[in-house]
Amino acid sequence: MSRLTALTLAEARDGLRAKRFSARELAEAYIAAMEAARPLNAYITETPERALAMATQSDERRARGAARPLDGIPIAVKDVFCTKGVLTTAASHILNGFHPPYESTVTQRLWAAGAIMLGKTNLDEFAMGSSNTTSHYGPVFNPWKKPGDNRPLVPGGSSGGSAAAVAAHAALAATGTDTGGSIRQPASYCGIVGLKPSYGRCSRWGVVAYASSLDHPGPLARTVEDAAILLGAIAGYDPKDSTSASLPVPDYEAALSGDVRGLRIGVPREYRADGMPAEIERLWEQGVEWLREAGAEPIEVSLPMTRYALPAYYIIAPAEASSNLARYDGVRFGLRVPGDSLEEMYELTRAAGFGPEVKRRILMGTYVLSAGYYDAYYLKAQRVRALIARDFAAAFERVDCLLTPTVPSAAFAIGENMDDPIAMYLNDVFTVPANLAGLPALSVPAGLSADGLPLGLQVIGRAFDEATVLRVGEVLETAAGFTHRPVETMIDGR
């Protein structure tokens, strides 16, 4: 039998339908791959017993002709999605021992569609980071290395465990969340596909909150087709999320026509940032050329506010985080450090439970929301956010989607960019604007750096037009023909 873990989600689904293998065989292959990939530290919690039980149920459903759309597909879940009765940590010590009494809407939809849970993946603490080095459960290692250089590289963040697991074929696909690039940046660093849907497309109910107006759940997958299939399963209105959009969910798989003739592709000139590496710029130009050859029409557009997106984000996101993370008080769940008074218990619990980056963001957020600074920082950032959204709206009067690089670099070594928080934040320079505006954005692996590491291109679309974003993404994917794999074949779980 060929290696089951080498199949894409679409291929595995077809193989299960044709009964070439069972859900149990597929689950067993992935459990072995997950164990073999343990040196990557991609999972915080493995759930092999649950996976096998779900696979057995899946095979029974198929045997009686009641198979569901994702029946038997093994999925990894970023450990910010609450999973009933399964440890959920957000990679923070403060959620020590938390077993949610309920299931997030996104994961509920996956299991209702027949998918199988492999485990919960590692991340930056509370999804705050671009390197997956701030986890209480230790860093995640990128399965990729530079040829001839054994130094471990970051997988990106914050959905670094999900991206590393998918890239190492230790999960068929995974869920992630993206607040400033946390799906797309690790997808780019790990050579896989990552989609941040529109704000409101996928429910946030049951997702541990970081910055509620910027948090977007979405899929990480091996191919654009796989991402389209997963989005179709997790998208849709949810009355439990008051910002969920009551809109019909199109057939995203059917939207992958391969035809982009006549589509107008915007190339934002402000993304040509100072100091952008030449190889990133070349790849971007190559992407424009691929789409032109496929019959699309590239058009230069201007998004003048681009350079202000990152500073606005680093006011708004910490402000929302300081409010959201106020709930961690040692009273109702998670860690408690005893104190002589209630006040002291709060302070000691939060001091011991949060890591340095989370504390810094809570403090920044508390400061910009405090009396006397609210207007100067928080409202100012929200006004700039409105201008950024306005820039995109003006561009989308002239074009159907935008093409940009996903990240200004390839994966960096663990320990780099650690001294200066702003140097780390600059990783998100191309991804943050789509979060502020709530637009769908996709990262597709498009080439290798001179160092032999994956690089992604980003397609940004109109709100709720994931279909066009995925269609353009698939054309890029086909043109790029990215078939590279990480060098370490030991992680393939043979």
């Binding site: 704000y199 500073p311 006011i315 009273v331 209630l342 508390t366 950032a381 700039v384």
Partner: protein
């Protein structure tokens, strides 16, 4: 804007995070660095634009004011570090 140690201590008290004296100075430096960087927003003329709090298109939806959930005391208390007779238990707050 440069933050001093006293300001960081005041913010930390507001945020209910206990900091050691030795943590104040490095945090003041890091936060001042980040604040100076975000202050470039001052270059942008925002006099004619309303603040945008969310990308969600509409206002908050309303629903009937009725009980839709409940009778799950065990689930609610199941993760609590300490409970007593069906309540969350905390250190005494009234002398």
């Amino acid at each position: 804007m440069a933050l001093d140690k006293a300001t960081v201590a005041r913010i930390a008290a507001l945020a209910r995070i206990r900091l050691d004296e030795a943590e104040l100075e490095p945090l003041a430096a890091e936060m001042s660095h980040i604040l100076r960087w975000v202050e470039q927003l001052g270059e942008v003329d925002t006099s004619s634009v309303a603040p945008m709090s969310s990308a969600a298109a509409t206002g908050l939806p309303m629903r009937e004011d009725e009980i839709t959930d409940g009778n799950c005391e065990d689930a609610i208390l199941g993760n609590a570090p300490r409970t007593e007779r069906g309540f969350f238990a905390v250190p005494k707050v009234v002398e």
